[in-house]
Symmetry: C2
Subunit: 356 residues, 2 copies
DNA sequence: GAGCACTATGTAAACGTTTAACCTGCAATC
DNA sequence: GATTGCAGGTTAAACGTTTACATAGTGCTC
């Protein structure tokens, strides 16, 4: 910068102002400075700027694992939007380990990060609590606490409802922004699709102990109740490993006659169902319609290709950035909840498998 | 830091030295300083350090897309190893766009990044060239130019061999470190597995115009030649979309009688083959054995689960970091080539499908 | 007991920006 | 023609570290 100033015979202050298009600098000078920075390939020192201004244009992002295609998409959305707003994401994969979460925060603090996004954070609240204590602006994507009030006026869902009510009381509190996928609506959408196809016999394969699964179950149940088809089967695997999920579905198939419709709580579960059906000699979709939720990258390539409710993954990321930065950094916390969209592929059909 | 110094009645210089365990500082003082930093929750300013030292402990990492599970794993390996060595990765997804690549470099330069990793960079060499021009230490993972010499003494492979020879002349030149998966060996490993199972009729589904595919093809051919089984079919899709790959395989199946063995150049191609086989009424593995390469996350859950040659993805990432930082930052460029390992699942069996 | 080597610490400059506060002409105003 | 206002700058301090160099104390050697 000194060089640029010297070459032009002005002070560094002028250069600095010209570069940020301060109106107090004449147009001619501004132009000259811009030209010169171009010519000498001037690159501002982020470190110096940061030191002086104590703010960094960095968005700290903690994810559990980036090895998974789902989070990858969210991350893409974050990066693209951050770029538009002149920010740079700084990613940290915690692998779900608490020590790494803590370390991530230390790094962010050292780097003068002021904006913070947690993607599907673990159940442990320590990370988020510390983050707000340290004065960061935080947004959480698909966290535990984002449940919107409308879903809780009907209190008839036993354990799920109680847990959800707990979450509600936490939601909206504190300085956290929330962006979330509407799990309940997705559960309903998937289930209604099957109902609309003409199915009358259903099962839901739920996940183990994760909030999103609980909510999707609420959606499943709700859709069936409104159609007068409740009760129906709810399958639970002992553990999230695929074999266990397959076993749960296999158990259901043994006690059932085709045709039936299965709502899996996520696409991986749907894949397990596909495998179990294949083993058991049920054809999909003729004997069993399977619908997933998430639309992971692979959903289009299973055999048969999976009908599913797609999460707007990139949009989730982009909106989290918006929640922090738009209209202005540090504005009031926001909460956004996004709908999924049904993607019909090959794994669902009317009972018996007639063309839809 | 000033506070810590004041609280202890020493100078900031002493604190600075104590924190990096400078032996010139007495043990007692060192201990006292460490205790005090703990008590006051002192967090060093990365910006100030960077400004003063002109180096950043940051590793710039450019990937094409992080939305894909494969790169996610590599990234995990990078982060873990970087952490061990006291570095912090700064990720940038280029989506294959040249303007974003350029921008990534600008960001890195502004951030005083000195270490640079490109994961599966695009064919365009501009990014890498500029990076070395700017004085960065660069390592490339699965780049185009990493082909090791041993594979080129036998010049009998036509076009592939010519292209490869071109690459060779570039490899090892310049200040780039290379870490790569041994594509030729992987192609051989996959093919030998099928040969070992007793197959005599083969096909290879190759990719379109990517170096790794060319090399895997060389491996396929080499394995067949050494077993006296060459020539065999080589299938090429018009485009990388799944439908096109499926069509290529379907064409082959139409002109063939079971049983046969198919070596797909990657797992996605293998999945396409699985789908084509299913459509054509060929059973896998009874009528058709399919082996992929890469071991993407989904490979374990296809129907049937895919036999494949696994890339050591995390290790690729870790070794790229090592190439830059170990034994010391800025050491001589290294080249490492890593072997894959065969993972036998359900998609391969002896011809006719007898138990292996 | 003067000189020396060594240890433990202090002093102060420097890194490259930003920005509050201050200047300098010049035109408009009375 | 003195005063005011404003456009277009300049000056210099500050941000929080690191580090070359200087200094003070302590024990040894001769």
């Amino acid at each position: 910068m000194k060089d640029v100033a010297a070459a032009l015979g002005v002070s560094t202050a002028t250069v600095s102002r010209a570069l940020k298009d301060d109106p107090g600098i004449s147009l001619a000078t501004r132009q000259a400075v811009h030209d010169m920075t171009e010519r000498v390939q001037y690159r501002p020192s982020a470190a110096a700027r940061r030191l002086r201004t104590k703010s960094s244009s960095l968005i700290g992002v903690v994810v559990q694992s980036v090895g998974d295609g789902y989070i990858g998409e969210v991350v893409l959305g974050i990066q693209a939007r951050a770029r538009d707003l002149g920010y740079q994401p700084l990613f940290f994969a915690s692998e779900g380990r608490e020590d790494l979460e803590a370390e991530a925060l230390d790094v962010f603090l050292s780097e003068q990060v002021t904006e913070f996004i947690a993607v599907s954070p673990t159940g442990r609240p320590r990370l988020l609590r510390r983050a707000v204590e340290e004065g960061l602006h935080v947004a959480v994507i698909n966290g535990d606490t984002e449940i919107p009030a409308p879903y809780f006026d009907d209190a008839g869902h036993g354990r799920a409802a109680r847990r959800i009510t707990q979450f509600t009381t936490r939601a909206g509190q504190g300085p956290l922004s929330h962006v979330a996928f509407d799990d309940v609506a997705a559960g309903m959408l998937a289930t209604r699709h099957l109902i609309g196809l003409g199915h009358r016999q259903f099962a839901h394969l739920r996940g183990v102990n994760v909030t999103s699964s609980l909510l999707r179950l609420v959606g499943y149940r709700h859709a069936l109740e409104e159609a007068g088809l409740w009760p129906q089967a709810v399958l639970a695997a002992d553990s999230p490993v695929m074999a266990s999920r397959e076993a749960a579905v296999a158990g259901f198939l043994r006690g059932t006659r085709p045709p039936a419709g299965l709502v899996a709580y996520d696409d991986m579960s749907a894949v397990a169902a596909l495998r179990a059906a294949h083993q058991a000699g049920w054809r999909v979709p003729e004997d069993l319609s399977v619908v997933g939720i998430d639309d992971i990258q692979f959903a289009a390539y299973t055999n048969p290709a999976l009908t599913t409710v797609a999460q707007p993954k990139q949009e989730l990321g982009a909106l989290a950035v918006d929640a922090l930065l738009a209209p202005a950094p540090g504005a009031a916390p926001q909460a956004r909840i996004l709908d999924g969209s049904l993607i019909v592929r090959e794994s669902t059909a009317p009972p018996g498998g007639a063309a839809s």
